[in-house]
């Protein structure tokens, strides 16, 4: 954005639990939102929400990442305490991106290999079962909304989708949600849920712009896009698509 030009308005991005759920470059998703909001001519405001913090007011975009088992345990109670607020935001159409660990916890439950059931917050109609098999590698997803989505998966939880959600896309390369259904991620209202890191948004600017556009339309009634330079993103996508699994 030309600094002399007036901002089209402030968009507030809240990163969920960056202290405990930030593995595999999840910070990249927050950074990409922050920069692209700027490149579209708006003013980004990035807030971190950690366990015990007061929940921020006037949230425009929520982004949350993956964590280790230990990190998931740390946030468990706090997340349950915020379930109501997050559900209201989701039903109200707030754009959200949840990756891996928080994708699982946004679902109904996570059942571990030993049979213990960790409750989710039920924003998404999905359930996850822990397995001994770790699904790792480069992934390509064919999606109706965002074209080809590229990233890297690393998870041992397998997620099954209920009737309340639809998959983000099908998987020509990689595994995705689970080893039998051939689809990846979940879509519900303006939530995008996925197992892909990479980070996801840098190489998939279409998803970043969907979140920003939705936030702007919700807040200002319309979105007036700028023209980010996506030359490197296009080339990185081209090369990533050719890398072996």
């Amino acid at each position: 954005m030309d600094p002399a030009q007036e901002s089209k308005g402030t968009i507030r991005v809240v990163q969920l639990y960056p202290r405990d759920m930030n593995i595999y470059g999840d910070w990249g998703n927050a950074l990409v939102l922050q920069q692209r909001i700027r490149w579209h001519g708006y003013t980004p405001e990035l807030l971190e929400y950690n366990v015990g913090d007061p929940f921020p007011e006037d949230v425009d975009i929520i982004v949350g990442g993956g964590g280790q088992d230990s990190g998931q345990l740390v946030i468990q109670d706090d997340l349950q305490a915020r379930a109501g607020a997050l559900k209201d935001l989701a039903e109200d159409g707030a754009p959200m991106l949840v990756i891996c660990g928080l994708y699982q916890l946004f679902g109904r439950f996570f059942k571990t290999r030993t049979g213990a059931v960790i409750p989710g917050i039920g924003v998404l109609d999905v359930e996850t079962h822990g397995t001994d098999e770790r699904l790792i590698g480069n992934v390509k997803v064919a999606t109706p909304e965002f074209g080809e989505v590229l990233g890297y998966e690393n998870h041992s939880g397998q997620t099954t989708l209920g009737n309340g959600v639809r998959p983000l896309g099908t998987v020509p390369k990689g595994t995705g949600n689970n080893s039998s259904d051939g689809h990846e991620g979940a879509r519900y209202r303006n939530i995008v849920a996925s197992y892909l890191h990479g980070s996801l948004l840098p190489k998939n600017p279409a998803i970043a712009d969907f979140l920003i556009r939705t936030a702007a339309e919700r807040k200002f009634g319309s979105f007036d896009p700028g023209q980010p330079n996506d030359r490197f993103a296009d080339l990185a996508r081209e090369h990533a698509a050719r890398r072996p699994r």
């Binding site: 470059g25 690393n154 890191h197 190489k203 080339l235 890398r243």
Partner: protein, 439 residues
Amino acid sequence: MPLLGYIRIMLYFSVPLGKLVRRVSRLRGGGSALPGLVVEKIDPGFMRRTLTTLPHGVAVVSGTNGKTTTTKMVVELLESQGLKVFTNRTGSNFTRGVAAALLGEVDWRGRLDADVAVLELDEAHAVHFVNSVPPRYCLLLNVLRDQLDRFGEIDKTAQLLQHIAAKTTGTVVLNREDPRVARIATTLTGQDVKYFGLDDSLLGTFPNDDDMRAAPGSPAPAGLPEKPAADVVLRKVGADTADFEYDGVTVTTGMKLRGVYNIFNAAAALTLARSICGGGAATADHDTLLAALAQVAPAFGRGESLTVDGQPLDLVLVKNPSGFRLGLKSFPAGGYATMIAINDNYADGRDMSWLWDVEFESLREGGVDQVTGSRAYDMALRLQYDEVRVGGVETEIAPALAAFIREAQGKPKRIFCTYTAMLAIRRELSKITTVEVVS
């Protein structure tokens, strides 16, 4: 397999046979692990017998970062004390590699002329190794987000290290500043535990993965209630010196190694060497120890300073976010032309996520002249989001390196590179110019 079964009976011949396979596979230009595999198959007790009967037994060095250089340091420190050291120098840091290295050193009757074995082992392989050869010492360096894509999780890696410690019969040396490593002490009962540590003033230059995105001043993850005393503490790092404190005294020594993280590993090596030579008649001679430490150069392929066209060219190995952040901090950009080479081969790690956990603002002023490697465009994209100017992007390393050297003529140069990219760059450098290794 009747043949192998038959051979197994002839245990007596296992060493000569292994040595023979080793010669043949050398002639064929084969890998170093095959002869080790042969001996392992026909005589599983070979390694245990040979190694555990050494006067000082076996010391295992493991952890995610800095194993190779640290092992090299320990070996040189022990040699300065007059010990004969067996080590797996070929970089085969798995059990078969150790067996293969051993075959090269033993005589035809399987005897090893050494006082102690110092072995670098990959975390996962170390677990198998210590099950068959219990070490007398172990040195556990750190648990970083390096091999996540291989082992799944950091906590899993910490468990692997804990297993190595549990199998150790004598002294366990731990990194006091890495909570996942320091915590291992609480699980041990019989072993002697020693720590190496860092001065508080240096902790800031040494972020651990938990601090990475934590707000300033947020509580550290639960480790030990209070910091235990360390056997050796790194107090200060100068331009080419370092201050170490041990036995209540602080000494300054010259250092060929660069980068705080390498020098912190020197504290680790010193702690292990003191343990091995400690006490009794064999008490370490500190003057010779420090003299040896001052001479240690980085291990091959772990970051080197070369001279190209009369200008220094630094190769800085980066293989995980902590290492990259430390590299950027330890080697300031001012006055240098910069290139970054990122490959995603298996030895580098396939997952590129980690590039997003490194902040590149420190390169903003001078920009990055060339970006290369199979993931060059991922790297360029990363730099774009940190508003760092990028000169050229070229996935092929040879032309990118040539352009870098041509355009940065007369300037000192620095290349941050992943492991396989570093190997490729060294190969290319030796083709296009006379490479003189400075340190």
